[in-house]
Symmetry: C2
Subunit: 222 residues, 2 copies
């Protein structure tokens, strides 16, 4: 049963939040037989209850009036809707600070993401192991990625190398790219790109903070 409606971009963002709220709840609820209402879930992630119900309707989860949604069922439903029902294979390019932070991320691999290869330009790193992953040379990238069958590539290199690395990842068959370089990537349609941009985040923070000078503060959830 495919989702009734497509999941919008804002909804996809919220789904990640729901997932984590559900997981934290499941951790405290061993049998996993508990329920959660749209209001509770909304409170946990800073979203209105009606919004939660609309989102969940899209993933095809059935709530029980008067009770709420079954935790386990809901968790599975959201994961399936987000394309996380089976694991994704990812490669990491760039083992600088950001790359290391990702390697150290316990969550990586824990649920649905498997890091199958790691590359770096630095000859001093190539051949060594970082967080259990043998670092390969950039020369080995295209062949290595192709052999690994990875669908996702993570670009954690300096900005001037980002486009080139991304192009080679796509050449090697990757279908989605996570870009940590503060530079927009141009990739063919059919390849998904998601950017994580510290500078943008900082600037957004400056903007939002300067908005909140004394005076009319409308706020909603978080």
């Amino acid at each position: 049963m495919p989702p009734r409606t497509t999941i919008s971009k804002p909804a996809a963002r919220r789904m990640s939040l729901y997932l984590r709220a559900l997981e934290s709840r499941l951790a405290h609820d061993d049998p996993g037989e508990g329920h959660i209402s749209s209001r509770e879930l909304g409170l946990a992630v800073g979203v209105a209850d009606a919004q939660v119900r609309k989102d969940l309707a899209v993933v095809g989860a059935a709530g029980q009036p008067g009770v709420g949604y079954r935790l386990k069922e809901l968790h599975d439903g959201v994961r399936r809707a987000m394309g996380l029902q089976r694991p994704w294979r990812a490669v990491l390019v760039g083992v600088g600070n950001i790359g290391r932070a990702l390697l150290a991320y316990p969550r990586f691999g824990e649920e649905g993401f498997e890091l199958v290869a790691v590359f770096d330009r630095d000859a001093g790193l190539v051949g060594r192991k970082v967080a259990g992953h043998a670092v390969q040379s950039m020369a080995a990238l295209v062949e290595g990625v192709r052999r690994s069958g990875a669908q996702l590539g993570i670009v954690a290199v300096p900005p001037d190398q980002a486009q080139d690395v991304a192009d080679r990842l796509v050449e090697a068959g990757v279908r989605g790219v996570l870009n940590f370089a503060p530079r927009p990537l141009r990739l063919p349609p059919g390849v998904a790109v998601v950017a994580v941009d510290f500078t943008e985040a900082l600037e957004r923070l400056a903007f939002e903070t300067s908005l909140r000078r004394q005076g009319s503060q409308r706020q909603k959830g978080a």
Copy 2:
């Protein structure tokens, strides 16, 4: 002259992109007397030209029909509209991999952001210098932040400490928080929060990638 209209959240996101496109352009245009059209700028950041014009109208930038916008004037206008006309003082809490990545970020400080204090829980780090910044103990946090007069705080600690650290930052007078922990923060209204969440980004990537199975690919810019 305050902006005619308020800048929407999506618009604020794009402003950061405009800024970087303009800066990269200014770097290749030493006198800074060049012009750029809404179409060119839109192409650089993956946005429709009409959208660019609407955004720029909000910052109060005046374009010249048939020619475009003056680079330097536009750059200044966007920075002002984003609240970047004068520098922000920020503190960093947590000198793990993410914290280090931020410290290494050349852009940090280069334009508009000054890192005025750095804290970490690890006794082995306290007192040492990392990337030119003396690491202070967590015990010194509230007093240290208050004395520094920082308006922004960056939370780069493990998730279980994030809320506590954020609370103390707010207690110390911080008015905006950049959160790298994969956990939503609850802070009083009047304090801005921007989250950078790797897990969310990865899951969004999985979702967008799974959408792009063969078939109808609508795409626009990037």
